[in-house]
């Protein structure tokens, strides 16, 4: 038996290599989009609704419109489990599929975004990291292939600070206050630190940085420190189970939830529901949408859910992360549409879609047309600004649902722009890149 098993493995490995190289051929008029998701692992409760939202939007475009201007969307999911090396493997596996290769890639993890940033430059495939990734990647002259649409972590942190300042009566009132950041100990969690330090320097508040190791189920020591130091506000940069644990620990040490502000990764239903009533009053930054069904859901019901084609359960389609998936897919589809106007209504390469992303301009009218009214503000992307928009709101959990608790807030570019410039220049120097806008012919 042993000898046979041995040769079986060797054949298997050889097969793995051989088949992986020869990707199956697809029909010609199809646009391939890879979809890196995590439906398993520690972060699955958050990953599943997001993946469902993306899948449903692509299916809706195919069912309702027959594709993007007649070009059908073909997408394939690959489960990364939020692991960086697995995410890279998924990307390599899927990037060449379809008649023109991947249109763009949605890494859905800051770590994977970092790892793919260089690979996509070589492969000429744009990255849409909506609301995550490197904050300095909004500088399109250095990060030509990265599109952190709808706000970066610096934008999110700035919006939260502005909201706090408003509550206190202005930034000058923050002097002497103490703001703590409880963060996931990874590049993702560390992203807002630079902005908080900068703002702390400007306004004279104290900061306290408390890292939590992945996956974040052990936070007793962190919250003991919070109890001892009594910060005036706590910002939460958590993910998955870390968020609900943090809220539960806050209840345990008696820290008021009204003074806690999560980033958008810490502001969805799976984050607050496990803490039950304890989460009441907890806030989070909404970049830009909140929970609830809206106009587009009529189409979703008509074309997908009534026919049994939906990926989620109907009652789940109003959840924050599902909606976020819808919006992310919509931005990608609109970028392809924009690129089609220039390059023709046919399957496009990643390079052409990149042009579409850089020239993406979604007006308020167009948002209404697309069925996203009330969820989004107009977006305009350019080479200098791959973020598109820098507005967001604060939402509060009332124990049952999320409610918008603030007006639209725009991050202060006089603070962030110089930081972006400096960080991007440092990256360019480290990588020996010459900054400049990419011209696509």
């Amino acid at each position: 038996m042993t000898g046979k098993t041995m040769s079986g493995i060797r054949v298997g490995i050889a097969l793995a290599g051989a088949v992986a190289v020869a990707a199956p051929a697809l029909a010609q008029n199809e646009q391939f989009i890879p979809n890196l998701v995590y439906r398993t692992g520690a972060y699955a409760p958050n990953g599943v609704p997001f993946a469902n939202g993306i899948a449903d939007y692509y299916r809706l475009i195919n069912e309702r419109d027959g594709g993007i201007n007649g070009v059908k969307i073909v997408f394939e999911e690959c489960d990364t489990g939020y692991a960086t090396d697995r995410g890279v493997e998924c990307y390599e596996r899927l990037k060449g599929k379809g008649p023109t290769g991947a249109a763009y890639v949605i890494p859905l993890s800051t770590g994977i975004t970092f790892a793919l940033t260089e690979k996509t430059t070589v492969d000429k495939i744009p990255i849409i990291s909506m609301g995550y990734g490197r904050s300095e990647s909004r500088d399109g002259s250095v990060f030509q292939w990265n599109f952190p649409l709808l706000g970066t972590y610096w934008t999110a942190a700035d919006i939260i600070l502005q909201h706090i300042a408003k509550k206190e009566g202005g930034f000058d009132k923050l002097k002497g206050k103490k703001i703590a950041l409880v963060y996931h100990d990874s590049p993702y969690g560390k992203e807002p630190i630079a902005l908080l330090q900068k703002r702390a320097q400007m306004h004279g508040f104290e900061t306290l940085f408390l890292p939590v190791t992945h996956p974040g189920v052990e936070q007793k020591a962190t919250w003991l420190q919070i109890r001892q130091n009594r910060p005036d506000y706590v910002l939460l940069w958590g993910w998955g189970v870390m968020n609900s644990t943090a809220i539960k620990e806050a209840v345990a040490v008696g820290y008021p939830r009204e003074k806690m502000y999560g980033v958008w990764w810490s502001g969805a239903e799976p984050d607050v529901r496990p803490a039950e009533d304890g989460a009441k009053g907890y806030n989070s930054a909404a970049l830009q949408h909140t929970a609830g069904q809206f106009k587009l859901h009529e189409d979703l019901k008509k074309y997908l859910y009534d026919k049994g084609l939906g990926a989620a359960k109907w009652e789940e389609t109003g959840e924050i992360l599902y909606v976020r998936g819808l919006i992310n897919a919509m931005l990608g589809v609109e970028a392809i549409r924009t690129a089609q106007e220039r390059f023709g209504k046919k399957p496009l390469t990643g390079e052409q879609v990149r042009w579409g992303l850089e020239n993406l301009d979604i007006s308020a009218d167009r948002i209404k047309q697309l069925g996203f009214e009330g969820e989004l503000r107009p977006i305009k992307v350019s080479c200098a600004d791959h973020e598109g928009t820098r507005t967001g709101r604060i939402q509060t959990w009332d124990g049952k649902k999320w409610n918008i608790a603030s007006d639209w807030l725009t991050s202060d570019d006089s603070v962030i722009a110089p930081m972006v410039k400096e960080a991007a220049a440092k990256y360019a120097a480290e990588k020996k890149l010459t900054p400049g806008c990419l011209v696509t012919n």
Binding site: M1, T2, G3, T5, M6, I9, G12, I13, L15, A16, G17, V19, A20, V21, V37, R39, T40, G41, A44, V48, A51, E77, C78, D79, G81, T84, D85, V88, E89, E92, R93, G96, T110, G111, F114, A115, T117, E118, K119, V122, R134, D185, S186, P187, Y188, K190, E191, I193, A194, P211, H214, A423, Y427, E430, K431, K432
Partner: protein, 354 residues
């Protein structure tokens, strides 16, 4: 019939001391290396390079490193991930601060730094043994991970703690395509494997094995445990450090301490257990098994045309992978290399077994 050494006479000491005294072995290894360096580039696509060959080769170096320590010298270590991180960050800092340094020197420096750290953490091995040593090395893993996440200097004050390397050149030739990277990694692997082979079959290797088999007896026949254990820690950490630097530079390109967390340590340990403790071949087989089987299982349903949800594919991958590890260890506790050795034994007698 094909694999028989009848008629191969050794007429000199050199012939007797050769790495592969049997002609068939010698030729098959030469053919394998020739195929890997000349044949593979003829047909390999990018996926095969970046997701199959390069990771397997780099992790094989790490597995050889751990095998020297655990398989040959008998010192159980759970700190491989940390030593890989030492190599990665040492290489990063040298390349960053002295950008003109030749890339070979950068990787050597990574190995030497990991060696020094390994020596330091190897010191407790003189007093503690077995599982207790494993726990002590686990502490080194956590300490190193902590140091690279917290000491800003190592990451050049990157705000997110994630670092990235620029273009890599060797004697003016940029190593930018997967094909070139593969050849570069292959060359380093071959050189390091050859060095390891010569180490373990010589005086030093015998010293390690004597310590592994019974340290008191080894001490009585005149082997100094200090010398033997620390040299094993040093050589092992050197290999692991080089592997870490290669992993960071040529596989990841940009990384964070999480890339070298305790799971990496376990991964390397499982490689040598499944591949075979105390064999170099086992390091390669184990690395290939641990890296490729999950990827293979993950893609199997789509090749077979079975429509399955993404989550289900992942769950099945985990279950089958776990089951395969258990089955292999039941079938052959000494690892894949032992299966290979049994196969060779059988081949010698074929077609007339007795």
């Amino acid at each position: 019939m094909f694999y028989r050494e009848v008629g191969q006479f050794k007429t000199s000491y050199d012939a007797d001391e050769a790495i592969f005294p049997i002609a068939q072995d010698r030729w098959s290894v030469i053919v394998l290396i020739a195929f890997a360096s000349l044949g593979v580039p003829l047909f390999a696509g990018q996926y095969l390079y970046t997701e199959v060959l390069i990771p397997v080769l780099i992790l094989s170096i790490a597995a050889i490193g751990l095998n020297i320590l655990t398989g040959y010298c008998g010192q159980l270590s759970l700190g491989s991930g940390g030593f890989m991180a030492v190599g990665a960050y040492a290489a990063y800092n040298l390349a960053l601060r002295l950008p003109e340094t030749n890339i070979i020197l950068v990787f050597l420096f990574a190995g030497v730094m990991a060696m020094l750290v390994g020596l330091l953490f190897g010191l407790p091995s003189l007093r503690i043994k077995g599982f207790y040593l494993a726990v002590a090395t686990l502490a080194s893993q956590f300490f190193l991970e902590w140091a690279f996440a917290r000491v800003k200097w190592f990451t050049n004050y990157a705000p997110s703690g994630s670092v990235a390397v620029g273009r890599i050149e060797l004697f003016g030739i940029p190593i930018d395509t997967p094909g070139k990277t593969y050849i570069f990694v292959l060359a380093i692997t071959v050189v390091l494997t050859l060095a390891a082979k010569n180490l373990v079959r010589g005086r030093i290797g015998r010293m390690w094995m004597a310590i592994r088999d019974m340290d008191i007896a080894a001490e009585i026949i005149g082997i100094r445990p200090l010398h033997a254990k620390l040299s094993a820690f040093a050589v092992s950490s050197f290999y692991i450090g080089v592997a870490g630097a290669l992993w960071a530079f040529l596989r990841l390109g940009s990384w964070e301490p999480l890339a070298f967390d305790v799971n990496r340590s376990f991964q390397v340990l499982f490689m040598i257990i499944i591949g075979g403790l105390g064999t170099l071949l086992g390091s390669f087989l184990g690395a290939a098994f641990i890296v490729l089987v999950p990827i293979f299982l993950n893609q199997l349903p789509s090749w077979l045309g079975i429509a399955m949800s993404t989550a289900m594919i992942s769950h099945i991958e985990f279950m089958l992978f776990g089951a395969m590890i258990v089955l292999f260890l039941i079938a052959e506790p000494h690892g894949l290399a032992r299966l290979w050795a049994i196969g060779k034994e059988k081949l010698r007698l074929w077609p007339f077994p007795y």
